[in-house]
């Protein structure tokens, strides 16, 4: 564990972990006995995030925006409405799509907590919620991107979006060269979660290997 960032990777000392397991089990017992929660409903929430609601949804949105000019227009005009029209995503939070260009790169952060476009990306990764990311991204975004191995051209402006309200941001990366003629599905396979937060770029080599 890093001495700087104790919440990194969510790991703790073994004794603390079992303490938390016991503590949370007791909490669920109390809430169930008092009739406040239904364990089967809790199972269903967890199952939904583990199997159905994840970055593949956002990847489908981005891939569609890459191939379908009319959808792309709708997405940047009103992302909430555009993704609701896709059917499999359901009612979204207030969503805003951000268009990367050769001169402008978007990065999303929540300095105050962990706001994240859950309906299209699922639950945020630990690094997004880490003290390191939350503290540095607004002051030194280029340095943070370097932590991800991403070095942008000096003349590319970086725009950081601090999610301080109930608006949620989805970065739409540029379609990389070398993906001409790819199917929407194959395009979606290279749109990783981090690309849609703005900390990485899609890598055509990843899709070509599939």
């Amino acid at each position: 564990m890093s001495t700087h960032d104790h919440d990194h990777h969510g790991h703790e000392h073994g004794s603390e972990l079992s303490d938390m397991q016991l503590r949370v089990r007791a909490l669920e017992t109390i809430l169930t006995e008092k009739g406040y929660v239904e364990p089967a409903a809790l199972d269903a929430i967890i199952e939904a995030y583990e199997t159905r609601i994840g970055p593949h949804l956002g990847a489908g949105v981005v891939a569609k925006a890459w191939v379908d000019a009319e959808f792309r227009r709708q997405l940047f005009e009103n992302a909430t409405k555009a993704v609701a029209g896709l059917g499999h995503i359901g009612r979204s939070e207030h969503l805003i799509a951000l268009e990367n260009t050769p001169k402008l790169h978007h990065v999303v952060v929540c300095t105050l907590c962990s706001c994240y476009p859950t309906t299209v990306l699922g639950l945020p990764p630990v690094w997004y919620k880490s003290h390191a990311y939350r503290s540095r991204t607004v002051a030194d975004p280029r340095g943070v991107l370097r932590d991800f191995g991403l070095e942008l051209p000096k003349d590319t402006e970086i725009r950081v979006w601090d999610s301080t309200a109930e608006l949620r941001y989805l970065v739409v990366p540029m379609r990389p060269k070398g993906t001409e003629g790819w199917s929407e599905e194959k395009l979606a396979s290279i749109v990783t979660r981090d690309c849609m937060i703005g900390t990485r770029l899609p890598d055509p080599a990843q899709g070509a290997a599939r």
């Binding site: 890093s2 700087h4 104790h6 919440d7 969510g10 703790e12 938390m20 397991q21 949370v24 007791a26 909490l27 669920e28 017992t29 109390i30 809430l31 006995e33 008092k34 009739g35 406040y36 929660v37 089967a40 409903a41 809790l42 199972d43 929430i45 967890i46 939904a48 995030y49 994840g54 359901g90 009612r91 979204s92 207030h94 300095t111 105050l112 907590c113 859950t118 309906t119 639950l123 990764p125 630990v126 690094w127 003290h131 390191a132 503290s135 540095r136 607004v138 002051a139 932590d147 000096k154 402006e157 970086i158 725009r159 950081v160 979006w161 601090d162 301080t164 309200a165 109930e166 608006l167």
Partner: protein, 218 residues
Amino acid sequence: MNGVHDMGGMDGFGPVQPEENEPVFHEKWEGRVLAMNRSLGFSRAWNGDISRHAKEILPPQVYLEGPYYRRWALGLEQMLMTHGLVDADEFAAGHALRPGKPLKRKLTKDQLENAISRGSYERPAQAPALFKAGDRVRARNIHPKGHTRLPRYVRGHAGVIERAHGCHVFPDSHAARREEDPQWLYTVRFEGRELWGDKADPGVKVSIDAWEPYLERA
């Protein structure tokens, strides 16, 4: 409140360390904590801003230490106590010692979609907007003692209104009094150098979403 949760611009937390092939939950209890939070949120035991504030008021050393969902678990316990839904002796016993109080509604498995989709926080306008896109504004130098969504790093700094988003539930009132108190919400864009000084990267801009009471004309 000026708490440790307000992290924008702090130094010393080291590099960002992404984890390859990260699981959705690292431990089983994390998923249970998330689900209990969602379920009680659905029950309207409290609102999202009360829930955020419950984590902000954890002692700083507790907030900074341990995995993310530990904060959620501790915040949840605190809210259950302060809202009179669970008593301290029940936490000590690990069991309910008296029947539960009525909640507005209870999440059942068949209502799952309602629990995982979020409603809109936009509300009808109460008054005309004070600002429009292109206006120069300054984030007020205010230090509310309760929940607020105006980060410290922008306070006192000037920026530009980029876009108005209509009126939205105002977190400060929502957390303190459960009042929606809708206010105009704007995306405000700041130059990196305005926030971080002349040595900062000139090619960086930072925006926040700010409610009208956070702003004044610059």
